[in-house]
Amino acid sequence: MKFTLINNKKTEQLSFKNNLTIKELLDQIEKPLETVVIKKNGQIVLEDEIIQEGDTIEVIQIIYGG
């Protein structure tokens, strides 16, 4: 399953197993859930959302240290 990840303004194509959730993706890229907002195809989604083939996932960091 392939999808587009926008993280820190960098865009990349990723290949992962099917039924990957947002939470699993965040674990992979080492981003704590409580510091980010996730958009899937432009809509804010919850951590249990499943990523589908061709999706665009945007990770927006909203909380920085301090």
Binding site: E34, T35, V37, K39, Q43, I44, V45, L46, I60, Q61, I62, I63, Y64, G65, G66
Partner: protein, 309 residues
């Protein structure tokens, strides 16, 4: 599972402690209602107030400006804003631009004032001097001085800051752990200044968790400067913030209970406050101060000495 309020399918957030799941519309209107309710509950704003927002361009102050602009639209308050340029290369300029865009969009009076212009030194220059104090120590003192002075010059009757629930909880824990009861007494949704030269400060977002502030600005598509201050890592506040965030993972209501508990002991703390000092004016800058020199002027003198050595 759909939105627990309206039943829509597009759920954007879940409050684990209450099981509430909300769509963007219900989340945004719920937050706005909560902030306006807290403004009434704590008597933060009266009709006819000139409210100056301390607008950094970050998520907290942008959300605050967004919600307060609804009071301006209804003719309840006059809104204005100030942005402080501390002089942090590669960080502050983006925030200033965003603050200017919001002020222009809303048609409100906006001033950008800098440490360099008022104290003749930028924060970067301060931190390059030998053996400086922590950056947040200078920044906090100079920023408060500058915000208050500008508020008076602009005719503000209230200064609104974007402190959120995380900030308030951190302040409570920091001051408690440091044994700084004097500062602990001052924490709360509005200030009660001892000099009329100090403009009343209000914190309408004091019961909104930081993450929900972030969700609000993203859900509303507001332009925001998302970046961390390069000096924040050094602070004790950052260390405390980390501890509270970790605790919140398994105890999602811990920040609310810390704040609630604090409100209960605050009454007792106030009663204990037996000190009866009078506020005078700083002999150098004329701003209110309990000492001959205010802290900003003490720091300026200290920095002058460092510069010449």
């Amino acid at each position: 599972m759909n939105c627990t309020k309206c039943g829509k399918k597009e759920v954007m957030m879940e409050r684990k402690h209450s099981g509430q799941r909300l769509c963007p519309e219900c989340f945004i209107s719920g937050i706005q209602k909560k902030v306006l309710k807290d403004i009434r509950k704590y008597g933060l704003i009266e009709k006819g107030d000139n409210v100056m927002v301390a607008l950094s361009g970050g998520k907290d102050s942008v959300m605050l400006l967004d919600i307060l602009s609804s009071l301006q639209n209804r003719g309840i308050i006059d809104l204005m804003a100030v942005t402080i340029d501390e002089g942090i290369q590669g960080y502050r300029q983006d925030g200033i631009k965003i603050a200017e865009n919001h002020a222009r969009r809303l048609g409100i009076e906006h001033r950008v004032v800098s440490f360099k212009e008022y104290f003749n030194i930028s924060l970067d220059e301060i931190m390059a001097l030998p053996f400086p104090r922590g950056a947040c120590t200078y920044c906090g003192v100079f920023r408060r001085w500058l915000i208050n002075r500008t508020a008076r010059e602009m005719g503000a009757t209230k200064i609104a800051t974007g402190h959120n629930l995380d900030d308030e909880t951190q302040s409570i824990m920091m001051n408690y752990l440091e044994g700084n009861i004097e500062n602990l007494r001052r924490i709360g949704p509005r200030s009660h200044p001892k000099s009329d030269k100090f403009i009343v400060k209000i914190k309408p977002l004091g019961e909104i968790p930081e993450r929900e502030v972030g969700l609000y600005v993203v859900a509303k598509g507001l332009e925001v400067h998302f970046a961390g201050c390069p000096y924040s890592q050094e602070s004790f506040r950052a260390e405390i913030g980390e501890i509270i965030k970790n605790l919140s993972k398994n105890h999602p209501t811990i920040m609310y209970s810390t704040l609630r508990g604090f409100h209960k002991i605050k009454t007792a703390l106030k009663k204990e406050d037996s000190r009866n000092f009078t506020m005078d004016n700083c002999i150098k800058c004329g701003e209110p101060s309990a000492q001959e020199l205010c802290r900003a002027c003490v720091f300026c003198e200290e920095l002058e000495k460092k510069k010449t050595h």
